[in-house]
């Protein structure tokens, strides 16, 4: 059921768009591509449905799922409901990596992805090292470490912008940071999809352990948890997922903080249910919001604008209904 919702959302987004395509044409394209039929369809329709709308919807679903689920996992791990997917500096690390690669390799795409990814991991590693300074209460320090690292990388991003060639490099950096699903291609799905999927699978697998980890270090240890390893897996998976997402879509706020909370209100705090629900809701949410952004005006409304504007009323309504769900 949970898996079905995002699929429905993806199918819906094949139908939606400024360029009018008839339902039958869409069906024909899909059947053709699945080798189930061989209709004559206009090339523009094929490209539009199969190379523009479909990869965009798939990527949107992946990104949404990754951000939401990482947020949920980090909240559980750090026992702090205000934590979001970017908390350990993943986003700004990735941003800096990309900016650096653009300057060093003049926008070679693989290098950009690679650097973005490597620096996302580096940021998390640095946060972790700062968090280790005082090892009896590592959580708060880890999160603070993340904030620090995050801010340093943000500053470094500004710095690269400051030194970048304004005609050649700067525009690419700005574009990259702004991010968008608009340019999604199967190549993006291939490249960034791997870490995202690994992250998603990792978090799905370890989801119950997050419950146990949220008991606090002392109790979790006494309950038989290998703290370093299990925390490491959660952090690593969430980092992979977020880094992958940021690589293709830029920095999208909100989803990684609020979707988990919406899910908490809907299904409770047990991560066994929370993690898959966050995934599904995150995916649906981002795909649908992106659909709305694509159709309401001619020029696309950036995702970041809509996520909050559409999500916030929903959140408040839910809050009123569930009275906060036990918090």
């Amino acid at each position: 059921m949970l898996a079905l919702a995002p699929v429905m959302a993806i199918i819906l987004s094949l139908v939606i768009g400024r360029y009018p395509v008839s339902l039958s044409a869409i069906g024909q394209v899909v059947l053709n591509k699945l080798h189930l039929a061989n209709y004559q369809v206009a090339q523009v329709h094929t490209v539009l449905i199969w190379d523009i709308r479909l990869p965009r919807a798939i990527l949107g679903a992946l990104v949404g799922a990754c951000l939401a689920v990482s947020g949920a996992a980090f909240q559980g791990l750090f026992r702090n409901p205000l934590v979001s997917s970017g908390i350990l500096g993943v986003s700004s690390g990735a941003g800096f990596g990309a900016a650096l690669a653009i300057i060093l390799f003049h926008g070679n795409t693989s290098a950009t992805y690679g650097f973005a990814f490597a620096f996302a991991l580096l940021a998390v590693l640095l946060s972790y090292m700062i968090g280790q300074v005082y090892n009896t209460t590592p959580t708060i320090m880890l999160v603070l470490g993340g904030v620090i690292v995050s801010s340093v990388f943000s500053s470094l991003i500004s710095f690269t912008k400051y030194v970048a060639d304004p005609y050649r490099e700067l525009p690419s950096i700005v574009f990259w940071l702004m991010g968008s699903l608009a340019t999604a291609s199967y190549r993006d799905i291939m490249v960034a999809g791997i870490p995202m999927l690994v992250g998603l699978v990792g978090l799905m697998g370890i989801r119950w352990r997050i419950n146990v980890l949220s008991m606090g270090d002392k109790e979790a240890h006494a309950l038989g948890v290998n703290l370093k390893l299990d925390k490491g897996i959660v952090i690593f998976s969430a980092t992979l997922a977020t880094a992958g997402a940021v690589c293709v879509s830029g920095i999208i706020g909100w989803v990684g903080l609020i979707i988990p909370h919406i899910c908490r209100m809907l299904v409770g705090n047990d991560n066994r249910v929370l993690i898959p629900s966050s995934m599904a809701l995150g995916a649906c949410f981002l795909v649908l919001v992106d659909d709305i952004g694509r159709i309401i005006t001619g020029s696309e409304i950036p995702l970041g604008i809509l996520t909050a504007l559409i999500g916030a009323p929903f959140f408040v309504w839910l809050l009123k209904r569930t009275k906060g769900g036990g918090w």
């Binding site: 370890i206 419950n211 109790e219 979790a220 240890h221 006494a222 309950l223 948890v225 290998n226 390893l229």
Partner: protein, 280 residues
Amino acid sequence: MHLLELNDAGFTYPQQRDAVFSSINLRVDRGEIFCLLGPNGCGKTTLLDCILGIHRLDQGRIKVNGEDARHFRPGEIAKHVAYVPQRHENTFPYTVIDMVKMGRAVYTGRFSSPSDIDKEQAKKALEIVGMMHMRHRPFTQLSGGEAQLVMIARALAQQTSLIIMDEPTAHLDFKHEMLVMETIVKLVRETDMSVLMATHFPNHTFYFENRDIPIRVALMHDHTFLESGKPTEVLREDNIGRIYRVKARLAEFAMEEGSLRQLIPLRTLTAEDNCDESQY
């Protein structure tokens, strides 16, 4: 082979000058209850934490089931020892049954969730402490005593041969206190389990002694064990006076259930009552 063995254990908190305790020797065998008694802040919780591997001893060593605890993989201790903490800090409002299921973590693969068997075990544990009817309530909304019972159920669900309890009956009412005591007796008797507990109630130890459970008690004082042995031998009026600076009376009742010993505190000692030079 002892279930648990501490040799010459010592520990100091980082940045603290004085050791919390040192030269502690302790042995817990199968089917035995071991009670730690001692004034507030004497280091009971810290000692239990060291056994659980939460702190690392500065000195001495710990053997669990004959194995040196230092060689345990992280988390492995949970196969041998379950833990009921003195205080639990709430974060997310998990339901009661979900809390208890966490006791099954050690039997659950890293990448899996509790199985049906685990669920059954969790329910059984909840039944033992009489909290089944609250299993779907958020843990954060329980009363202090109810929460304590759930924590005990969680430890029971862990099904270890040793349970470490840190003041398990604090916050419990008359009935639940009795229930916990009886549960401990039953478990020790029937399943050969052992319990290591910190408590402030000498009478608990007499209760166990009275039921013919193998029980030993250690009086912790001045950074080490002052004495350890059978409750009747250790919890003498003079010892209590020395450690707690409290005048207490060890009374004995004859009842149909047999004779019953009770240590009754009367008043604190003042400088005039000086019985020895203990620092308290």
